[in-house]
Each structure stands twice: as structure tokens, then as C-alpha cells.
């Protein structure tokens, strides 16, 4: 089933955590802009446990989001919950050069 992209977030003093749900593609654009707006802690965790497919447009949007989190919010970005396929894509596109995978 097609999964509409949604984001839930929790705020702690030192960390803002975003839990992503669904597929990440062009439709995630506005939601990922909100992620940058809402992040307000020195550490930002992006949790992909409930993410299905991430296509090339989704990868471009994630790269833009992580870049903005680092440059505009000076945040350390952490990634968790990747499936095998998405982990391969993150390696191929250099996302792991910008964000650390928790537990890796």
C-alpha cells in the first residue's frame, strides 16, 4: 500500500527526534522543511524505522534537510532505523558523510 509521508517529533532538552512514516519522495518536501523549522536542540535524530521506499527525489530532499540542519541550526544529525535498501542508498549518496548512524 502507498504510504503517505508523515512526521512525528519529540522534544527533549538536548535532542529533537523526528520519526518518519511512509515513503519519502517529492511529496515529502513540505514536511522536511518543517523538520528544519522545528529542530531546536544541539542534536537532531532522524528515525527511519517506519519508512518504506526512499526514491532519488527523496534522497535529494533528505540531503537538503540535513545540510540545512547542520548549517542553519548547527545541529549534529543522527540517523537510526534504516532498512537494508535505504542503508545502501545512504552510503551511495554520501548521507553518512553528513550524519552519523546510531548503533553503526
Amino acid at each position: 500500500m502507498e504510504q503517505t509521508f508523515k512526521v512525528a517529533y519529540t522534544q527533549e532538552p538536548q535532542r529533537t527526534s523526528f520519526l518518519f512514516h511512509g515513503n519519502i519522495d517529492a511529496h515529502a518536501d513540505r514536511h522536511l522543511e518543517d523538520v528544519v523549522r522545528q529542530a531546536s536542540s544541539p542534536t537532531v535524530q532522524l528515525d527511519f524505522s517506519n519508512v518504506g521506499r526512499i526514491n532519488s527525489m527523496g534522497i535529494a530532499l533528505l540531503l537538503r534537510t540535513i545540510k540545512s540542519l547542520k548549517s542553519e541550526k548547527q545541529a549534529e544529525v543522527q540517523i537510526s532505523g534504516l532498512n537494508q535498501m535505504n542503508s545502501m542508498l545512504f552510503k551511495m549518496t554520501g548521507i553518512f558523510l553528513m550524519a552519523r548512524e546510531l548503533g553503526a
Partner: protein
Amino acid sequence: MMTEESQGPATMVFIGDPLTGCGMTVGTAGLFPEGPDVQERILTGSADKPELIDELLTVIGDQDESRALLCQKAGLMADEMLENALYAAPRDSSGACLFSKGHPRRLLPMEQIRLRYSYDGARLALEVRDSWGTLTAAQVFSFLAINTATAAPDPERAGRGLFFMWRLLDQFYVNIRPGRETVVGGCLQLRPAPVDATTP
């Protein structure tokens, strides 16, 4: 140990002249298996995409780890091929895109997009053809070269979808008949899941 990633990019078959970008009138016979098991679907618009990908994933099934990985790859490959046909292929006479990604669209009256697939329990063949023929050989090679040259993260880099196909498909082909048709396809093998695909 070989990991999924260390198997390297697909064998690429480009049907056409890579120097001039002119396509040849050679079909894709031999690259896509013909026969009664081949399924063909004709799109009417972008709204068909999720349903077609779901159909493909249902055919494969995800009852074990290897099939689950094949499903993840197949879903992504179909997504990229269909997005290219829906949004990258339609261009005006100046080469500008007619439609933006993320905006729902219906096919134009003379436009055709066809998805074909065949799965025999061990190998999935997948192919999408559009009736534009606007992709050029120079673009294909340039996209693969740009994305191969550096792993530095760049959100604006073009051609990432084709790069994913080249890296993840076991065989990858492009057949361009300029102004008439672009066919992008390839195959994925079901193979035992690696013990640890993240180990270098």
C-alpha cells in the same frame, strides 16, 4: 564476503550510438524475456504508480529476507523508471520539462507509458517505455559519471535515479529512439540475503 553493495554496478547495455546520441532501430529482444508470463500495464496518469508498484511487490512477496530485499529494490527501480517517464521525459521544443515532480498529472492524448514485468520466482525483469525519446545517450553517460565521480553529498546533483538503476540492477539497458521512444529496463536476481550487508 560479497555484500549486496560490493557486487558493483550492473552490466550496462546501451542500444544506440553513445557518441552521437542517435538511437538505432534495434529492439530490446533478448534483454527482456518474452512469453506468456510477461505482464504489461498501460498508465493513464501518475495516480497509477502506487497501484502498479503494489502489484509488483505482491507478485514477488516478502515472506523471507531475500524476497523482502528484492521487494525493496524492485519497488525503488519501478518508482524511478516511472518517475522518469512521467516527469523527466515530457519536454517542450526547448527541452524544458512540462511537468514537475510531486504534482499529479494525467497522460497527454498522444502520450504512452507502458510498464512490463516478468517474475519467474528467481529473476525479475522490469521495463518502462515512454513515447517521448527525449533522453540522450550523452545525458545517460554524464549522469552515471557525475554520480560515480564523487560520493560528496550534493542535493542538486542530477541523474541520481539512473545512477541507482545502474548500481542496483543486475542488468541495465537503455534504448532511445530520439523523439519517438525511450525504454529503460533491467533485471534483479533473487539471491540469499547477505549476512551483513553493511560490513565493508
